[in-house]
Amino acid sequence: MRRIVTVMVLAAALGLAACASKPVKPASQSAAGAAGAGAESQGAGSGANTGEGALGNQQSVPGPQQGLLADRTIHFAFNSAVIRGRGIQIVAAHAKYLADHASARVRLEGNTDDRGSPEYNIGLGMRRAESVRQAMLLQGVSPSQITVVSYGEERPVDPANNPIAWAKNRRVDIVYLTPTQPAQ
């Protein structure tokens, strides 16, 4: 048996009614799921709306651009966190720059292709970022200069579902951040 039933779901909600300026919208339940309406009426998002610059010292900056330093991406094989080929040289160039510029700071963003488990891919992206971090530490970079984050499969550079896109997406991006203030 094969059936096609097409139903257009009405744009009932998405919180469009009573749109407030609060950044986090409560789901104003009106439907039968509303059994046992709680006493909580306090909406979220009140208070500090501090803007993206809240963590201003984490702002990304252009950083160095000479030679290999302009290259900010290290690519990886499927299900691997091993730095290879040109990636080794890119990491070495940034490690040298960071070791020579103690106030410079980077965020290493681990990424994967979008196949399989999103949670496992967060772990894999973390392993990739950690590979780059370890390589940089071995080359004299201070741990305080590096933060790591893994986005797993959530931030592809190419959203297509094919081997070329997947290869582009298996990567660590080096993002330069606002340098620390010189020590007093």
Binding site: T6, V9, A12, S46, Y120, S150, E154
Partner: protein
Amino acid sequence: MKLIPTAAWIRTTAIAALLAACGLPTAQAQLTIKITSGVNHPVPIAIVPFAEAPSDSVGVAGVIQHDLVGSGRFSALARSQMPATPTHAAQVAFPDWKSTGVDYMVVGRVVPLSGGQLAVDFNLLNTLTGQSVVRKRFTGTAAALRNAAHRVSDAVYQAITGIRGAFDTRIAYIAVVGAGAAERFQLVVADADGYNQHLILESRFPIMSPVWSPDGKWLAYVSFEDHLSAVYLQRVRTGQRYRVSARAGENGAPSFSPNGQELALTLSGVSGYPQIYVLDLHTRQLTRITHTPAINTGAVWAPDGRSLYFTSDRAGSPQIYSKSLASGSFPRRITFTDSYNASPRISPHGTHLAMVTQVDGRYCIAVQNLKSGAFRVLTQGPLDSTPSFAPNGATIIYAKRSDPNGGAILATVSVDGMTGMTLKPTHGAVQDPTWGPFPQH
């Protein structure tokens, strides 16, 4: 039972990176539902149009019919084939209906009550015997008429199949809309059929891994605000949210314990090896569960709360392991087929393990019988992920990437693999679905 002890946590305020829901084009709230396959011998049934006041008509019979046919266990008689449109059992001429070939029929009506309430009266009739199988009245507001219709579907489904229906339930998922600098991640709660969407959170940073509390009042999820991963709890109705883990490295993959008092989660710390922990939501005490220098993540609880199932690549490729929470126990490997098994989910009765598996390079949803070990691939892939069981265990919802250029859609498959359905947004992508518990009526 006070389920989530939020007093122990400091409420976080949202930052501007999270955007208001204003001004979204309504088109993206649409989902197209397409039934892709069905069982060989569905039960023939007629859902006769209900008597409804035109002003509040949502087409109760149509909602019921969609639910039942979508389950794969029923086939519905076309309205053009119906000999009449009775709304009471007393009006039914059974011989006429018997000759259409249906075994059952549903008749009913929407009755206005005082105070803006409505009642949905229905009667499930056996057309062969002429007897009433089940008749009930559900009441609610006009706005909840669809939910009342789902409750009728649940009652009909249970009366005929013996299995509790899960039509009057909700799902949560992540929608990804826009591209480049305009890309936004949205945490959305909707009815299980995709209607009644509510935006819970919007961010220009990724949101992932939503999961319901056992009472359906809270969602836990991971959000990457300001490039840092953190685990949040958010009350669905009010939007109150609490950041419960924002340690260095990864904070990911939350899962509520069956009693709602603890949260399993993944932390990588500074070692860069993700490990499973259990966070006591009362005391904030953190207990480390795994100790292997490998990826350990995606923990879910056995229904008895005594063990966790999780993904680990400790043996090379990702596989699923279980570990008793009793002290001194060692993890036990559960999956042995193929080179990639991840995203474990345990069925509500603890009998089956659903997962993502790799078959000939395709990522598919599979189910393993935890007693017999029998392993069954339910979907074709090639890029399926994040299975989640309906609370009755009969259906799995998952994310499916079939567009070569784009993001995921949601799909369901029956646990026997026989029936499938897709829920497709008109634009953008939807992923990471998670099915909520039965409602507390």
